[in-house]
C-alpha cells in the first residue's frame, strides 16, 4: 500500500512539470542555427535561419528586438528551437547600446557557447537559402585555433565590461573573411 502511495505521489507531482507542455514531436520544431539582429530606419529586425535546405529564413521587425523575437515566436506555425543556435550575427551599424541589449537578451534565449559576430550587412550573410550557421561556426572554430581573440562565445562576450571585442565576418566569393575589432 505504501509503495502504491509513493508511486501515486510521484506521478501526481509530475503533472505540474513544465516539460508536460514542452512536448513536441522532433519534426514539429524548427532548429535555428543562426540569427541576425539589424536595424532599418526605426524598426528593429530579427532574422532567423533554420537548417532546412529551402525556405529557411524567417524575419520580423518591431519597435525593439525583444518585441521582434516575441512576435516571431508567436506567429510561427512551428515552435522555434534556439538551443542549437550556433551564430548570433549583429549588424555593425548598430550602436554599442543596441549591442549590449542584444547580448543581454541573448543570454536568456541562446546557448552560452553560441558565437557572436559582427557583419557590415548582417542580412547579406543570411540572405541565401543555404543554411550558414554551422558552416560559419566551423570557420570560426578553425580561426580560433590560430587567433584566440576571434573566440567570441556568448558567455565570454557577456563577461566583457566596457570594451567588447568581436570578430567581424564578411562573405566573399563563397568564403569568409574575418578580423577582430573593438566596439566601444
Amino acid at each position: 500500500m505504501k509503495r502504491i502511495l509513493i508511486i501515486i505521489v510521484a506521478l501526481c507531482s509530475l503533472t505540474s512539470c513544465k516539460t508536460l507542455t514542452a512536448y513536441r514531436e522532433p519534426e514539429e520544431v524548427i532548429i535555428i542555427s543562426s540569427v541576425a539582429f539589424s536595424k532599418e530606419k526605426e524598426s528593429y529586425i530579427f532574422t532567423v535561419q533554420s537548417e532546412e535546405e529551402k525556405n529557411n529564413l524567417y524575419k520580423t521587425s518591431a519597435d525593439s528586438f525583444s518585441k521582434a523575437i516575441e512576435m516571431l515566436n508567436r506567429d510561427m506555425y512551428s515552435s522555434l528551437l534556439y538551443s542549437h543556435c550556433a551564430v548570433i550575427i549583429i549588424d555593425s551599424e548598430l550602436s554599442i547600446q543596441n549591442i549590449k541589449e542584444i547580448i543581454k537578451l541573448s543570454l536568456d534565449i541562446f546557448p552560452l557557447n553560441a558565437r557572436i559576430i559582427l557583419s557590415h550587412n548582417s542580412n547579406n550573410l543570411l540572405k541565401s537559402n543555404k543554411p550558414i550557421g554551422f558552416e560559419l561556426l566551423r570557420y570560426l572554430q578553425e580561426k580560433e585555433d590560430t587567433n584566440k581573440l576571434i573566440k567570441s562565445t556568448l558567455y565570454k562576450v557577456a563577461n566583457q565590461k566596457d570594451i567588447i571585442t568581436l570578430p567581424i565576418i564578411e562573405e566573399i566569393d563563397g568564403g569568409f573573411t574575418s578580423k577582430v575589432i573593438k566596439v566601444e
Binding site: A10, T19, L20, A22, Y23, E25, P26, E27, A86
Partner: protein, 492 residues
C-alpha cells in the same frame, strides 16, 4: 480416490480379499500387472507392478527368482519378516502396514508383494523407468567449467549433487507436495552453514501448500513466494548442479522437485541476477568485464528507449545538434508519433523474442531474416518507423538478453519508463527509476534483504557483486546469508 484416502486402510489376513482389493483399485488401469505364485510350494503370493515403471531384470533377479527357487526350510518368525530377511535379494525392500504406503510405492515404480496370511505388504524397489539422462545445460551455458545439467528424475539429480558435495553435512529432507501428483521434493542444505531463518520459512510455506498437482518447480516457486506481484525474482532457479552446490556452500537452501530439471534456491539476492557460472570458471579480471557489462546492459535495456523519447520530445536542447538533425531527417515521412513508433517496435521485438524461443531450431535462420531484414530494414525504408528509434529499441532489446533472469522485470519496466519518458520527459524517467529502485529495495527473499549484498557497507559482501574478487580474497561467506562465515583458512 486419492492416496491420502487410503491412509487408515489396512489389509486383512485373507489373501483373496487383499488381492481383490488391490486389483479393484486399479481396475481401470490397463498397464497394471499382477502375477500369482506359490512360495515354497504352499504359501500363496501375488506381486503387483505397473508395466514400464519397473525394471524387469531387477524384478526377476531380486524378487521372482529367489522367491520361486527358495528351498523349503523351517522358520519361526512371521512369514513376511522371514521373506524380507532371508529371501528377497533387492537392496531396498520394506514392510508396509497401510494401503496408502503400498500404493505410493507401487505408483512410483516399486513392486508390491502380498503374502497369504500376512496383513502387511512388502514393497521392493524395482524402479526402472527411463529418464532423459544427463545432458548439457541449455539455459545456463558456460564456455568453461562443468557442462552437465539436471534431469527430470529427482533421485538422479540428488546423486549429481551428492557427487559435488560428498559430505555428511549435506542434509536432505523429504517432503511430498500435491494431493494427486504426490510429487516428491527434497529440501537440501549444508547443516553447519545454512541460513536457518530461510530454511524455517521455507518449511512453513511448504506446509501451507494445498494443491492437487505439482508438475514443475515454478508451481512451488509461486506458491511459496511472498512477493506474489513482484516482477523481480526472489527465488533462484537453476538447472546446474555446480550452481546448486555453490549456493549451498554459501548457506542457501535448495529445493529439488521431482519431474523437473529446475531446482529452486533461496534466499535469492538481486546481485545473483547478474552472476553467471563463467564468472567463476574464468580469470577474475576477465569475469569482471562480463559482470559489469551485465549491470550496464540492465540499465540500457530499461532506459535507452525511454531516454531517447524523453530527449527528442521534451529536451531537444540536450541532444547534440547533428544527432537531432539526423532524427528529424529520418522522421520525415513517418506517419506515426515517436511514442507509437517506439511501442510498435518494442511489441514486434517481444513477438520475435517469444517466437524465437518457441520455434524449432531449424527455423531460427528464417526467423532472423524475417526479423532483421523484413521488420527492420524494410520498415525503415517504407517510412513506417525511423532508423534512430529502431536502433534505440534494438539496443535495448539486445541489452535485455544479457540479463535473462531479469527478463520479466526488464520488459515491464521498459514499457512503463517509455510511457513516463514520453509524457513527462526526463523528470518522468527519473521518477520511474526511483519508483523502480524503491520497489527493488523493499523486497526480501525468505527473511533476507533482496539488495543486502549491495547496500550493506561491508566490503566482504561486495566481493561477489559488481565484480568477482579472486578466490584467494574471498575468505568469508556473505554475512547476510550465513552466520558461519569462514570459507577458507589461512593460506600457507
Amino acid at each position: 480416490m486419492d492416496i491420502f484416502d487410503y491412509e487408515n486402510i489396512k489389509l486383512t489376513d485373507n489373501f483373496e480379499e487383499n488381492t481383490a482389493y488391490i486389483k479393484d483399485i486399479f481396475k481401470n488401469d490397463d498397464i497394471f500387472r499382477t502375477r500369482d505364485f506359490l512360495f515354497m510350494g504352499k504359501y500363496k503370493c501375488a506381486i503387483f507392478f505397473l508395466d514400464g515403471m519397473v525394471n524387469n531384470v531387477i524384478l526377476n533377479e531380486s524378487l521372482l527368482e529367489p522367491m520361486l527357487s527358495f528351498k523349503a526350510e523351517p522358520f519361526e518368525a512371521a512369514l513376511d519378516d522371514f521373506i524380507l530377511e532371508r529371501v528377497i535379494y533387492a537392496a531396498e525392500s520394506k514392510k508396509n502396514e497401510t494401503v496408502a504406503d503400498m500404493l505410493s510405492a507401487l505408483l512410483y515404480g516399486d513392486t508390491l508383494l502380498i503374502i497369504e496370511g500376512c496383513k502387511s505388504g512388502i514393497t521392493v524397489n524395482t524402479k526402472g523407468w527411463r529418464t532423459r539422462g544427463i545432458s548439457n545445460s541449455e539455459n545456463e551455458k558456460v564456455l568453461w567449467g562443468p557442462k552437465e545439467a539436471f534431469d527430470e528424475a529427482v533421485m538422479l539429480n540428488m546423486a549429481m549433487l551428492r557427487r559435488k558435495l560428498p559430505t555428511p553435512d549435506l542434509c536432505v529432507e523429504f517432503v511430498k507436495i500435491g494431493r494427486r501428483t504426490d510429487t516428491r521434493a527434497f529440501i537440501t542444505y549444508l547443516s553447519s552453514i545454512v541460513n536457518r531463518k530461510a530454511l524455517n520459512i521455507l518449511k512453513e510455506r511448504l506446509k501451507k501448500i494445498d494443491i492437487d498437482g505439482i508438475l514443475d518447480a515454478n508451481y512451488v516457486g509461486e506458491l511459496i513466494n511472498k512477493n506474489k506481484f513482484s516482477l523481480f525474482k526472489t527465488i533462484g532457479t537453476t538447472e546446474r548442479p555446480d550452481t546448486v552446490a555453490s549456493n549451498l556452500l554459501e548457506g542457501r537452501v535448495a529445493l529439488f522437485i521431482d519431474g523437473t530439471p529446475v531446482v529452486l534456491t533461496l534466499p535469492y539476492l538481486f546481485s545473483e541476477n547478474f552472476q553467471s557460472g563463467d564468472d567463476y570458471y574464468t580469470n577474475y579480471i576477465f569475469a569482471f568485464i562480463g559482470r559489469i557489462l551485465r549491470y550496464i546492459c540492465f540499465f540500457l535495456s530499461i532506459s535507452v528507449p525511454a531516454l531517447y523519447l524523453a530527449l527528442i520530445t521534451h529536451h531537444k536542447q540536450l541532444v547534440p545538434t547533428d544527432f537531432l538533425l539526423t532524427v528529424i531527417k529520418s522522421r520525415d515521412g513517418v506517419p506515426i508519433p515517436c511514442i507509437l513508433e517506439c511501442l510498435l517496435l518494442l511489441f514486434i521485438f517481444e513477438i520475435l523474442r517469444e517466437t524465437g524461443q518457441r520455434v524449432p531450431q531449424s527455423m531460427g535462420h528464417a526467423l532472423s531474416i524475417v526479423g532483421g531484414l523484413v521488420v527492420g530494414q524494410a520498415s525503415v525504408e517504407a517510412r513506417i518507423v525511423s532508423a534512430p528509434t529502431l536502433i534505440a529499441v534494438a539496443l535495448s532489446g539486445i541489452a535485455g538478453l544479457m540479463v535473462q533472469r531479469l527478463n520479466s522485470a526488464v520488459v515491464y519496466s521498459r514499457f512503463i519508463l517509455v510511457l513516463l519518458g514520453n509524457y513527462f520527459g526526463l523528470f518522468g524517467y527519473i521518477a520511474g527509476v526511483f519508483t523502480l529502485m524503491s520497489i527493488i529495495f523493499s523486497l526480501d527473499s525468505f527473511g533476507t534483504d533482496y539488495t543486502s549484498s549491495l547496500i550493506k557497507p561491508n566490503f566482504s559482501t561486495l566481493k561477489d557483486t559488481f565484480f568477482r574478487a579472486p578466490w584467494y580474497k574471498m575468505n568469508s561467506r556473505p554475512y547476510t546469508l550465513s552466520e558461519n562465515r569462514k570459507r577458507q583458512g589461512e593460506r600457507k
